[in-house]
């Protein structure tokens, strides 16, 4: 089997005195969608915070294509090719759509390709092209989500991480968001998805894991987990 793109081994993460993650391990393979599901407060966002460099694991390691990245600054991590679309979108509301996208290409790695990236993002999300000069804060939730994803794509990531992209969005929009994620995968992007919308997250995932109070409790393919009765009981109501 080829080396995974991202390899997380036994990381333990603390917030001050409180431990949030216990011996968390998983791999993300190139070109796949890997979903992490779990209820609120289980530690999903903590994983992403750690992967993007805002938190430092007190033990364990995180490797991108074999080189360690745990403990590096968020800026360096973006430069290495891991881009996060945070919970809440992370947009600069006072800046225009175009400016937000341009800033997506701020990391040195992606700067030379800025114009190309812009062109492909705008063709992927035509609504952004139409709203280029609008302040990001004035857009609808779905549009903002598109912008957030588009901005992350501008940095030419090897690994795209999405933190609860469906949060706060209407069901129709949620559908579009997940379709977009599938499209991105089809274009070759590797995606790490953290979601509360378990059904969608497992439906589109190649592989997934379940996290509960800071520990990974299950790993499997999306289909496997989707069919699993325990998961249904815990997160989706009883199986008919």
């Amino acid at each position: 089997m080829a080396n995974p793109l991202l390899s997380v081994t036994d990381i333990n993460v603390r917030y001050g005195d409180a431990q949030a993650l216990w011996d968390v391990s998983f791999d993300v393979r190139e070109g796949e969608i890997f979903s992490i599901i779990g209820s609120n407060g289980a530690g999903k966002s903590t994983i992403l915070q750690t992967l993007s460099g805002f938190l430092c694991p007190c033990s364990g390691k995180i490797e991108l294509l074999g080189s360690r990245v745990d403990g590096t600054s968020p800026m360096a991590i973006v430069n290495l090719g891991i881009s996060l679309v945070p919970e809440g979108r992370g947009l600069f509301s006072n800046l225009t759509v175009l400016e937000n996208l341009e800033l997506g290409a701020f990391p040195k790695r992606s700067r030379p390709l800025k114009q190309e990236s812009l062109a492909s993002v705008l063709s992927l999300f035509p609504v952004l092209a139409r709203r280029q000069s609008q302040p990001a804060g004035k857009m609808s939730g779905g549009e903002q989500q598109m912008l957030a994803i588009g901005r992350a794509l501008m940095s030419r990531p090897r690994l795209l991480m999405l933190d609860e992209p469906s949060l706060g969005l209407a069901p129709i929009v949620v559908k579009t968001v997940f379709e977009t994620i599938v499209t991105l995968k089809a274009q070759g992007m590797t995606i790490l998805l953290v979601e509360q919308n378990i059904h969608q997250a497992l439906r589109i995932a190649d592989r997934a894991c379940v996290i509960k109070t800071g520990r990974i409790t299950m790993v499997g393919t999306g289909k496997e987990l989707l069919a699993d009765p325990d998961i249904h009981r815990a997160y989706m109501g009883t199986l008919r």
Binding site: Y15, Q49, G53, F54, L55, C56, S73, P74
Partner: protein, 316 residues
Amino acid sequence: MTKRRLFPPIIVIAACCAVPFVFDPEKSYLIYFLFMASIYVTLAQSWNLVAGYTGQVSLGQHAFFGLGGYVVAIAWSRGLIGYLSPIGIIMAGVAASILAILIGIPLLSKLRGDYFALGTLGLGEILRLVTIQGGALTGGPMGLLLPASSFGTIRPHYFIALFLALLSIAVSLYMVKSHIGLALVSIREDEAAAEANGINVLKFKVLSFAVAAFLAGMSGALLANYVFTVDPQGFYGLNWTLYPVLICVLGGAGTITGPIIGGLLLTAVFEVARYFLPEIHPIFSGLFIILTIIFLPRGLMGLRVTGIAKGKGGAR
């Protein structure tokens, strides 16, 4: 507090009381030192209440200090009170706290953090300017000369200063250990949460602000009785805010002993600097603040100066 813990403070206080009788007030430098230190400690404790415990960084203590000085000066010049009149000093404190309540209510209800600090700065400036414009009442830019020009002995000033310092410490102790203190700290840490828990945030903020003003006003009144003149630059000068802040930063804000240690240290530093480098000594206050905050953000007592707004950025 257990009896054993009371011993050291009582001994210290007793020693301080004994000093003017053991040493000759005319010649002893120690008395002057402790006098000034007491005034600084009072100011520092008062600022500590507002900023260290309640988290409202006021940069306007000098407004209350100056007001206290002027109230006494004006009353004295008009013959309403006499030299070192306790009524005068208390009146000065009361006047300052009334002002604090009047200004505090609008300011504290609407302003947070920096905006509040700026507002208090503005207050100080307004008072200073109004005083300059005050004509015969306040003596304008030159200030007022008081009816006496020297004192027989510094003893009464010393004891009043000591009393004020002890009062400020006692008040701080009381407020800290009582439910008031709990309320103040919870306001400092998370105002919204405090409000949600039924704490009347405004009331407590104004309370600490007014108490601080009371103490500052009395200190100003005492100093007026010592230097026998009041003037806008001397009494409304920013130094009277700078020093308490510096003391608390040095000693550790948000503690009771911090301002005491800081006050003694600062007075010592000032006096040393004044002796060896008479012109440059004000420079040191600035340098000290900077160095202390950068290298000793926790002050000498090792306790953290809590920021009002948490800094941005992640866990790094």
